[in-house]
């Protein structure tokens, strides 16, 4: 009988045992929209909480809201790896956190912006631009040996675009992390 991490068991632990530590899992990606007081150190508190509890942030976006005293943090967490219920309850315990919404995919709109720098020359530029057109992406910079394309959309669209342009030679890619807003009249 092995128990992960107990000092009473002296047997060596396999890495699989370490991975097998379980909990409640929803199995899907969650987008958490968090309103926080705009005070110094708030982002550190949130990031620190994730680190301490062993949760992993997949994407993170922070920006102002229509109220100067309040900022919005949008972060995505993998519900297959982490108990989302614990994540939100622990976040609620942070004094500077005002409101948390776990946005249901059907009831919200999520967008991300990505910039792709793709290697291309005269022979392949046209093809890359054609793909960009299909994705309603914008070419924002063109050089002799590369092109920069701006893509906006949900993350699966960005990933699909990435897969298509990768064979041309992806020099680099920058993504903002998702932001999201609820559908309908109510506040997020």
């Amino acid at each position: 009988m092995t128990v992960v991490g107990e000092p009473g068991t002296k047997e060596l632990l396999s890495l699989e045992d370490l991975d097998a530590v379980s909990g409640h899992r929803t199995g899907r990606k969650h987008v958490l929209s968090i309103l926080v007081e705009n005070k110094p150190g708030v982002l550190t508190r949130i990031a620190g909480l994730f680190a301490r509890r062993g949760f992993n942030i997949d994407t993170l976006a922070v920006g102002p809201t229509d109220d100067d005293a309040v900022s919005r943090v949008t972060l995505t967490v993998d519900g297959a790896k982490h108990p989302i219920d614990q994540v939100t309850k622990q976040l609620h315990k942070l004094v500077n956190v005002l409101k948390i919404r776990d946005l249901e995919p059907e009831e919200s709109v999520a967008r991300e912006l990505a910039l792709f720098k793709i290697a291309c020359d005269g022979g392949t530029r046209g093809e890359v631009m054609q793909i960009a057109g299909i994705f309603r992406a914008h070419v924002v910079d063109v050089g002799r040996r590369s092109i920069v394309v701006e893509v906006t959309g949900p993350d699966d669209k960005i990933e699909a675009f990435e897969a298509l342009v990768r064979p041309f030679g992806l020099v680099e890619m920058v993504r903002t992390g998702e932001i999201a807003i609820s559908r309908g009249r109510g506040e997020t």
């Binding site: 009988m1 128990v3 107990e6 000092p7 009473g8 068991t9 002296k10 409640h24 926080v36 007081e37 110094p40 150190g41 550190t44 508190r45 620190g48 909480l49 680190a51 301490r52 219920d85 614990q86 309850k89 622990q90 609620h92 315990k93 942070l94 004094v95 500077n96 956190v97 005002l98």
Partner: protein, 558 residues
């Protein structure tokens, strides 16, 4: 008004009578203001001693404990007490000096990012950036420390800001829009819980430190005795239910009684109140109380379903909830004969597995007997603190705490060196009570220096060292689980504790004979001022019974 003086006014407005601390460069303004502020200050010999003393004060009185330290090493010495207070939900405020603002971030002399260092181990912290924020930060810190689930709050104040001239207006109203603890408890859930309790055939009430923190001991006892509910408590909850009582099963968990652990194992309903299903309670989680449904009452929603899924969660303060639960339960008019089979099963365990040990045939003092002797010498009428290890578990088992706030120990963090300074703090908070510390010979040396503080201030704590010459609990684990390879647990050449006590200006005594023990202890208790008693006990004695780590209650040994 100088900001440091405003700090003192804010502390007084919060009812602070005593603070524990040690001055340094960065909190010179604070100490200048303290000079004639009318707040009692206990000058400790190490900031960790001050931090644990603040915890002991808070645990004994229920009031907020306050500790001061300077920047850098002063502040980092508070890290262990802060973490300890977080784990055990102790209402405490820690006020640290910081280097002046222009030096922050430059690796200045005695600069440490104490805010960053303590971020994961505080309930909240304030890194003051504007002197006008200081009074408000103090009021908010006290509000946070004592409300909801209590905990430590850090206020870090740069030295130059303390010298600023600010307007001070007494104000104790706080505005924390992101902090609204739920204290009431949902009435529908309470009704549901009462019904579940009325229908249960094998119920157990499982209480923890939350009952003590909520000052809900009497309400808990009333609920438990409204019917014949079997009661068990965690090491943090001891005293919430009077230990010598027919419904008392003893402490549960790793070194709990078989009656308590077997009852949890066979229960059909477990009512958890202010307890958090720590691994020391559950053992192997997948085999913990496999037949039970769970009612979980806790002021911290994040504790509910964290380790064990709750069937009926109730978020709120036990002090509010328990009387309403009792009223709902009484309205159901249950038949208490339904618990007869359950009690006969429990009585069977009690008869078969009473707590016990094999006493020595000669004058040797068994460690368990040492606790019993202190119980006898004090008549049970004492606040008792402890360090962490075997002596802590034996005290929990054999000193029968009958009221809350009499048993003060480091349960969550398990901090060696906690007991002596905690006793000092408890004694300051409760000057009319007898305060004893049962310490380990390893642990006591970690904050021994506070004996000097006790001598200087005439703080008459009675410290009884359970001296077996080992880091006993580690030795026990090495014996049981690591093939008796005793690696670095023999404490070797001890200091002469009697002479050490005398060197500190305290009274030192040594007790080695079982037949003289109770009388010797009585003599120590009757001695004025702080007393350190070196009690020589059996070297290799194990703490039993025991659920080996990671196993189930059924697998108890010893």
């Amino acid at each position: 008004m100088r900001a440091a003086d405003a700090l003192m006014e804010a502390l007084k407005a919060e009812g602070v009578e005593v603070v524990f601390g040690l001055p340094g460069g960065a909190n010179l303004p604070t100490y200048d203001a303290l000079y004639d502020a009318g707040i009692r200050h206990i000058l400790v010999r190490h900031e960790a001693g001050g931090g644990h003393a603040a915890e002991g004060y808070a645990k004994a009185t229920g009031r907020v404990g306050v500790a001061l330290a300077t920047s850098g090493p002063g502040a980092t010495n508070l890290v262990t007490p802060i973490c300890d207070a977080m784990m055990d939900s102790v209402p405490t405020v820690f006020i640290t000096g910081q280097v002046r603002t222009e030096l922050i971030g430059t690796d200045g002399f005695q600069e440490a990012d104490i805010g960053g260092i303590t971020l994961p181990i505080v309930k909240h912290s304030f890194m003051v950036q504007d002197p006008r924020e200081i009074p408000q930060a103090v009021h908010e810190a006290f509000h946070l420390a004592r409300s909801g689930r209590p905990g430590p709050v850090l206020v870090d104040i740069p030295q130059d800001l303390s010298r600023a001239d600010i307007e001070y207006e007494p104000a104790t109203d706080v505005s924390l829009p992101g902090y609204q603890p739920t204290t009431e408890g949902n009435q529908k859930q309470i009704r549901l819980a009462a019904k579940a309790m009325a229908n249960a055939r094998r119920p157990v009430l499982y209480g923890g430190g939350g009952i003590v923190n909520a000052d809900a001991g009497p309400e808990f006892v009333e609920l438990a005795t409204s019917d014949r509910f079997p009661v068990t408590l965690t090491v943090m909850g001891l005293g919430a239910f009077p230990a010598p009582h027919e419904q008392w099963l003893g402490m549960l968990g790793m070194h709990g009684t078989r009656a308590a652990n077997y009852a949890m194992d066979e229960a059909d309903l477990i009512v958890a109140i202010g307890a958090r299903f720590d691994d020391r309670i559950t053992g192997k989680l997948s085999e913990f109380a496999p037949r039970a449904k769970f009612i979980h009452i806790d002021v911290d929603p994040a504790e509910i379903s964290k380790n064990v899924p709750a069937h009926i969660p109730i978020v709120g303060d036990a002090k509010n909830i328990l009387p309403r639960l009792l009223a709902e339960y009484r309205a159901l008019e249950t038949d208490d004969s339904r618990l007869e089979d359950w009690w006969s099963r429990i009585e069977g365990w009690r008869r078969q597995y009473p707590l016990g040990y094999e006493d020595s045939a000669d004058s040797e003092i068994k460690p368990q007997y040492m606790v019993q002797a202190l119980y006898e010498a004090t008549g049970g009428d004492a606040i008792v603190t402890s360090d962490v290890g075997q002596h802590q578990m034996w005290t929990a088992q054999y000193f029968h705490f009958d009221r809350p706030r009499r048993w003060i120990n480091s349960g969550g963090l398990g901090t060696m060196g906690f007991g002596l300074p905690a006793a000092m703090g408890a004694q300051i908070g409760c000057p009319d009570q007898l305060v004893c510390c049962i310490a380990g010979d390893g642990s006591v040396q970690m904050n021994m220096q506070e004996l000097a503080t006790c001598s200087e201030h005439g703080i008459p704590i009675k410290v009884f060292i359970m001296n077996n010459g080992y880091l006993g609990m580690v030795r026990q684990w090495q014996e049981l689980f690591w093939d008796r390879r005793y690696s670095q647990v023999d404490m070797g050449k001890h200091p002469d504790f009697v002479k050490l006590a005398e060197a500190y200006g305290a009274t030192g005594m040594r007790l080695e004979d079982k037949s003289q023990l109770v009388d010797g202890m009585k003599q120590a208790l009757a001695t004025d001022g702080p007393v350190l008693v070196d009690v020589r006990v059996t070297r290799e004695e194990n703490t039993y019974p025991m659920i080996p780590a990671g196993q189930a209650a059924r697998d108890m040994v010893g």
